[in-house]
Symmetry: C2
Subunit: 152 residues, 2 copies
């Protein structure tokens, strides 16, 4: 019998594809997509290594690639991310009033989920096995790079 | 007699210079510098218009221009910004553990100052007349652009 909770929907799969692309580029494997009315309007992955960037986490890269959008579009959008969003990415979600966030996993890193929920953001954690495995492997391989990415 | 509270120190002046540069480029006049051990290590200004960016607020641009820094550098740094930091920029400050933030003004926009203080960030608001004047003029001239920048 199929269990929907163990399946990866197309949008989380797109975020995972972004994470894997980042890994293939030598980067930190975290990906994100922003979905508006059933269509991906922005997608991205962490670019700390690739662009020497301190701000292009996966979610930020997806927001940047979505471009300048009206407030109504953000309010109607859902952000998918392979990993629980950190303080910076959570702040960006709050700034733009994104009301729904789907998180691949929060086992390897717990972001600002309580803050998001306290501000009325609907949050769903999928406990996605692929997301967990990608991050566990990466953190084991490059602990110093991971620490840098989360400000440790 | 001079009153230190009404004077603009060199670092806030550098942030104001960034804001004015942004205005001269046709952009949103908010600037920021990051100071480590008495030296500016990153400076920037809002680039929504100039780069079509949804994430390059003044503080984010300064962080990006500072480049990848070790956690100890952020912890020892002070961020100067002409305007009270929004949720995204406040989140970035929290992510990187910047412990001290100097705000030019919070009269034209009140950012996430309570959140920052609740997390132990030392915050000083200067009520700087130049910062207030720049933003008042800009908001009056381009209200729709300002609304976009703060997710309204």
């Amino acid at each position: 019998m199929s269990n929907p909770a163990t399946q990866t929907d197309e949008f989380m799969q797109a975020a995972i594809d972004e994470a894997r692309q980042g890994l293939a580029e030598g980067g930190i494997p975290i990906g994100s997509v922003i979905v508006h009315k059933g269509r991906i309007i922005g997608r991205g992955h962490n670019r700390r290594v690739q662009s020497g960037s301190a701000i292009l986490h996966g979610e930020m890269d997806a927001l940047e690639n979505a471009g300048r959008q009206p407030a109504t579009v953000y309010a109607e959008s859902t952000l998918y991310t392979t990993l629980s969003p950190c303080a910076m990415c959570s702040g960006a979600i709050l700034l733009y009033g994104i009301k729904r966030v789907i998180v691949g996993e929060h086992q390897t890193f717990m972001g600002e989920e309580d803050l998001l929920k306290s501000r009325g953001v609907s949050l769903e954690v999928q406990h996605n096995a692929a997301c967990i495995s990608i991050m566990n492997d990466f953190i084991a391989a490059r602990p110093e790079l991971w620490d840098e990415d989360i400000g440790r």
